[in-house]
Amino acid sequence: MRLPHRDSLRKRLALLLDPISGMSINIRFFASLADRVGMREVTISSEGVDTAKDVWLACVRSMDIPGNARVAINQEYASFDAAVNDGDEVAFFPPVTGG
């Protein structure tokens, strides 16, 4: 049996963060950058967030954006000044080293 309080909280969280309703931004970190910020994936409210840079500032308080960090919005490279919209996925990662 669920506690009423927990259900209520869940509803409020869903309202705030549900990607379907378009009020949240999904954020992903990869490789050494994920290690440095201590997160791999997090969802934030899109309120007050206009650019990729704002996304970083909203969820990483412990460090500035590293000079060599890359950003992708919806799986495409973007600039830190690029606009971010509700429901977007924003990824931060270091220079790639595949191939």
């Binding site: 050494s32 992708a72 990824a91 990662f93 080293t97 595949g98």
Partner: protein, 149 residues
């Protein structure tokens, strides 16, 4: 066109041979191929293994767009691009790119263009484990052909 992320052992010669067998015989005059293999040393350190992390949704999209744009830009008969992810050991192949064309220029140029992009833009990251047990992220790839470096 075959573009794939591979999570298990990869045999480049076998994959290229098999794919080539599906192409009409006599339709191409040139095949260029590149295989990137894991070395057992990097920056003077002996390496025992490595893990290739990637951003799956972006990798898939990036590789398919890359293959499409290279196919549009070069006069190719066919192309193939396979990239490993996960745990890899020295001597094992990491990436294979192959191109088929009527004449050599298109095959070479398209092959190099894909390898260059895979090395500089596709969202893969190498984390290597030294023989002593310590592990570290590879911070940068070496420069490609004609980079002036």
């Amino acid at each position: 066109m075959r573009v794939e992320i591979i999570e298990c052992a990869l045999d480049p010669m076998r994959e290229v041979t098999r794919y080539q067998e599906t192409l009409p015989m006599g339709s191409f005059g040139a095949m260029a191929m590149f295989v990137g293999t894991m070395r057992d040393f990097n920056e003077s350190d002996a390496i025992s293994s490595m893990v290739l992390e990637h951003y799956p949704e972006m990798t898939e999209r990036h590789l398919n767009e890359l293959a499409g744009s290279v196919a549009d830009a070069h006069d190719l008969v066919e192309l193939m691009m396979l990239h490993r992810v996960g745990e890899i050991h020295p001597g094992e192949p990491i990436v294979v790119v192959a191109t088929w064309s009527a004449h050599r220029a298109a095959a070479f140029e398209a092959c190099e263009a894909m390898v260059e992009d895979l090395k500089s833009k596709a969202p893969f990251w190498k984390k290597e484990t030294l023989t002593g047990g310590e592990s570290r992220w590879v911070e940068y790839n070496t420069a490609g052909p004609r980079s002036g470096a």
